[in-house]
Amino acid sequence: MKAFYRLAAFFIVVIAFSSCEKVIDLNLKAAAPQLVIEGSIINIAQVPTVRISRSVGFDEPSSFPGVSGATVRITTGTSPILLTESSPGVYQGQPVVGRPGRTYTLQVDVDGQTYKASSTMPNQIFIDSVGIEEVGFRGKIEKNVIVYYADPPNEKNQYRFIMSINGKLITQVFARNDEFNDGRTVRVPLYQDDVDIKTGDKIDLEMQCIDERIYTYWFTFSKQSGNAMGNASVAPTNPPNNFDTPVLGYFSAHTVNRRTVMVK
């Protein structure tokens, strides 16, 4: 479906041969800084990290101050683990290995307000293989990364893909579910326009298996401008997350499977 929208957007531009893009000054209003909580638990041994920060105005430089003095707890089994602040806004604790099927809860107390979120880690699905596709598009040969995996039948699965090229994080958000390809071998092209992939590039891929609420979060996130790649989307909103009190950010328990490829 995405390919259709990409090509449709291309056609609209082709018809309108005199169209153009221009950076403009909008003079946007600045809302009060909003709290952002980001945390995750994965299925390999890792120091659990929760980042708490605040939003800044659109015209300010993109450095986001951390929020200190928060109380952060993650419940993995029965008793909660307290995380301590290792650097401004970054709270960490003892290494934890998450397990599929378990539900994890994050509780953050900041400025007298409590924010709670729960996430259940899904089963692990592995990347089958990674390929590079070459497409002739508008006179150039473009290389795209393709990920293959086998979706298990008769269960609801949601995925997120994170890609870095030569160490640079790609800002395109890839979220997929198995609505149309349950039980099939799935081929996911990771179209992006951050980096022109060339021979010799190093691609770091991470495939996450995420729960339904986190899928809705990343899916909505991917429709926001800057990520939409020509797909005129419905009115943007803050992606709905799994916190019980309105706050920005998410808490996700997911499996990871990492693969590195060199482009030939």
Binding site: M1, A3, F4, A8, F11, I12, V14, A16, S18, S19, C20, E21, K22, V23, I24, D25, L26, L28, K29, A30, A31, Q34, V36, E38, S53, S55, G57, F58, P61, S62, F64, G136, F137, R138, G139, I162, L169, T171, V173, E179, N181, R184, R187, T220, F221, Q224, S225, G226, N231, A232, S233, V234, A235, P236, T237, N238, P239, P240, L248, Y250
Partner: protein, 779 residues
């Protein structure tokens, strides 16, 4: 179950009027059809009156038929229509008489391009019908539009109260209603998607069109099914005296029309076709991807009619159109409307006219991907079968009664995905949905005394969602609370809505009047648009156990004034509209192929109000109009924007249009169009933050900001060829967006490429300055 009250209502209304007329002096009726003397085309909205009776006057109906009652005596019958010489004939009324009239076109009159009441010199003062815009199709030649293609919809958007959201979009918004709230009819068949190529062209080929009427308010009871407006387009019948060919060759598209008699003076046909060849230019591209692309649309309008005798006429008309967009061996998508109408007119006597219509309408779109291991084909369709009976009973000089019934069977196939076994996409069929819509209406056009005219009536509408199907019921969170299976024809849910309609006109002087109206309209077919631009993949759903019918209530008042010799017209209309059961999406919903799309919907209300000012100059070397609308449209949903009112995307605070047409000499006409509109309401970020290493934006309120304003100037010159006996030609030169303003199409936000710690706003515009040339011919 509901037939009983309807029957009583109709009967009591008829009884009242029969009684009234029984007590009057013996009246007789003169009736007949008004046609163009040269082509035999029936004239819609021509004025027929008796010069001796001051308050007399009827307009010919959609088939050119009129009926006028008067007491026994001698009179002068006068028939007039803009662009034609007035016809007069002395008649003696001693019995019901038939007088068929042929009017001769009067080409020396300089005419106005758009009339709010084409055909009636002072109809804006006389008639109780308010909120209506009539387009004089012949004058569309002189209004410059994009790519030089005459376009009915683009011209309608130059009138107050009808708004657009900018370039690349033919969806239009009338008095705060959404783009799916317009009932678009082509010879009585509903056209679901009135745009070609993502909105750059409309599906209406001007060569084939005779009459265009748009009702913004005060909808007559004959129309129903949509909440905001009715755009009633009637095709030409075809010249029943001589063969003719007409066409045009332009930069982007060409068109051809052939018409002629089947049997001279008894029957005629008309076929008109149009195709773009934008993809021919793509074949010249050096890039192989572009070379293999196909991008075109075509449409065909065809009509035939035959007069069996003076009292019976048969019409057949059809429309077939298709858009194709594709990349060879990769994918292809096509979509289009097909409509077919069979109509039969029967005149019972000089007072009772009947039209029976059998209508078929189909809109479908197909997306097909041939990609090796991702092949799939998605097919979606909405199909209607419709039977209509419309009657007009010209009871007396004070009353004209309109009544009728209508039944429609809808089938919606929301999306069927088929794929081969090796594809990585699963096949899936989403269940079809079936609905039955029935309505009955009765309405009286009443003139109790000279100064007052009231049109009042009601439309009763029923909608039933019927099986077969497996139906889910959802709660407000979108969770299934019940699932039931229904067999074929079994009723799942029925809605009944009475829709009262009243409008009145009080003449203050011979040149001015005030009007007021109230109408209720309901809607059972809803369009779920999955983006802010209209795309062919928008989903149609019917009212159901989860979705209630949309209801709108509109009040409007207006003051109308003409200057002494009706050269200038002025009107000021104000309206207030309240809408219930509006539909929108829950945040984060995915739409294509979503079997449970009804679980993704949330419901709310809307309100719209505004003032429309309009001044028009109708005669002289310079003609044209200025329209200004000041308005506000807001929506409110519990589940969106914390239940606060927010501006609709298409809310346009100020909307100005100026059209000027100047005939510099016998063969040269110059025209200019200027439009200005407040930018669309948009949700801008009010902060940014970082998650997952990616900068993203904070949106506190929906639609609290505005895009930059939209404005544009277009110029056009028409050069008529030298007068030959049977051959006419003309050249039209146009310049779209003369001062090259880059109006915003979308605004997106991204990190600055050279300094990632800064974010910037990027405006994308579609059209800069575009010249066009078209050659038109007719013989």
């Amino acid at each position: 179950m509901y037939k009983f009250p309807v029957f009583y209502l109709l009967l009591s209304v008829l009884f009242c009027f029969c009684c009234t007329s029984a007590f009057a002096q013996k009246n007789y009726a003169v009736s007949g059809t008004v046609k163009d003397a040269a082509t035999g085309e029936t004239l819609i909205g021509a004025t027929v009156r008796m010069l001796e009776i001051k308050q007399s006057g009827v307009a010919t109906n959609a088939y050119g038929f009129y009926s006028l009652s008067a007491p026994q005596g001698s009179y002068t019958l006068a028939v007039s229509f803009v662009g034609y010489g007035t016809f007069t004939q002395p008649i003696v009324l001693t019995a019901n008489t038939q007088v068929n009239v042929s009017l001769t076109a009067n080409n020396t009159l300089t005419e106005v391009s758009v009339n709010a009441n084409s055909g009636h010199e002072a109809d804006n003062i006389e008639s109780a019908q308010m909120g209506v815009l009539r387009l004089d199709v012949k004058q569309l030649d002189n209004i410059p539009v994009i790519f030089g293609e005459k376009d009915v919809l683009k011209t309608i958007q130059l009138l107050p109260g009808v708004k657009t959201t900018g370039d690349g979009n033919t969806g239009f918004y009338v008095r705060g209603g959404g783009s799916d709230q317009n009932l678009i009819l082509l010879d009585e068949a509903v056209v679901y998607n009135a745009s070609h190529l993502f909105g750059f062209f409309s599906t209406f080929n001007t060569d084939a069109i005779k009459d265009v009427s748009m009702y913004k308010g005060g909808m007559p009871a004959q129309y129903g099914g949509r909440m905001s407006s009715v755009l009633d387009i009637k095709m030409l019948d075809g010249n029943d005296k001589n063969f003719g060919v007409q066409g045009g060759i332009g930069l982007i598209a060409s068109r051809l029309k052939v018409e002629g008699p089947i049997v001279k003076n008894k029957g005629s046909f008309m076929v008109s076709a149009r195709r773009t060849y934008a993809d021919m230019f793509l074949k010249l591209s050096p890039d192989s991807t572009t070379r293999n692309a196909s991008l075109y649309f075509y449409d065909i309008n065809a009509k035939a009619n035959y007069h069996l005798n003076d009292k019976n006429t048969l019409f057949v008309s059809g429309y077939f159109g298709k858009d194709v967009l594709g990349l060879k061996d990769n994918f292809e998508t096509n979509w289009g409307n097909q409509t077919g109408t069979l109509r039969f007119n029967h005149v019972f006597n000089s007072k009772l006219f009947l039209n029976t219509s059998l209508i078929y309408s189909n809109y479908s779109y197909i997306i097909e991907s041939y990609n090796a291991n991702r092949d799939f084909k998605v097919t979606s369709r909405i199909r209607d079968f419709n039977l209509k009976e419309d009657l007009q009973y010209f009871i007396s000089d004070k009353h004209t009664l309109y009544f009728g019934v209508n039944a429609v069977r809808h089938t919606i196939a929301p999306g069927e995905i088929s794929s081969s076994g090796s594809s990585s996409i699963n096949s899936r069929a989403i269940q079809n949905r079936y609905g039955l819509e029935a309505s009955a209406y009765v309405s009286d056009d009443w003139r109790p005394f000279d100064r007052l005219n009231i049109i009042f009536g009601t439309r009763l509408s029923w909608f039933s969602l019927i099986g077969p199907g497996k139906i889910n019921t959802y709660d407000t969170e979108g969770v299934v609370t019940a699932t039931n299976s229904y067999s074929s024809g079994q009723v799942i849910k029925t809605y009944f809505n009475p829709e009262p309609r009243v409008s009145m006109n009080y003449k203050l002087t011979a040149l001015s009047s005030v009007k007021a109206s109230y109408n209720r309209n309901t809607q059972n077919i809803h369009l779920l648009a999955n983006s802010t631009a209209s795309t062919p993949t928008d989903l149609y759903v019917m009212s159901s156990n989860n979705i209630k019918p949309g209801i709108s209530d509109q009040f409007s008042v207006g003051y109308f004034r003409n200057q002494a010799d009706n050269t200038y017209e002025f009107s000021a209309e104000a309206y207030y509209k309240h809408m219930n059961n509006m539909i929108d999406y829950r945040d984060g919903s995915q739409l294509v192929g979503n079997e449970d799309v009804e679980s993704q919907l949330v419901y709310g209300q809307g309100r719209a109000y505004g003032v429309e000012l309009f001044v028009k100059k109708k005669a002289g070397k310079l003609t044209g109009w200025i329209g200004y609308t000041l308005s506000k449209t807001e929506k409110r949903f519990d589940a969106i924007n914390s239940g606060q009112y927010f501006a609709a995307t298409y809310d346009r605070t100020h909307d100005i249009s100026l059209v000027g047409i100047y005939k510099t000499s016998k063969r040269v006409t110059v025209s200019a169009t200027f439009v200005y509109g407040t930018g669309n309401a948009v949700t801008y970020p009010q902060g940014k933050y970082r998650v997952g290493g990616i900068t993203t934006f904070y949106y506190p309120k929906r639609n609290a900001d505005r895009m930059p304003a939209y404005h544009r100037l277009d110029l056009g010159v028409t050069l008529d060829g030298r007068e030959h006996k049977r051959f006419h030609s003309s050249w039209t030169f146009g310049l779209y967006n003369v001062y090259n303003r880059k109006n915003p199409y979308t605004i997106t936000f991204r990190d600055n490429a050279t300094d990632p710690s800064r974010t910037e706003a990027v405006k994308t515009s579609l059209f800069g300055i575009i010249p066009s040339v078209t050659y038109n011919f007719k013989f």
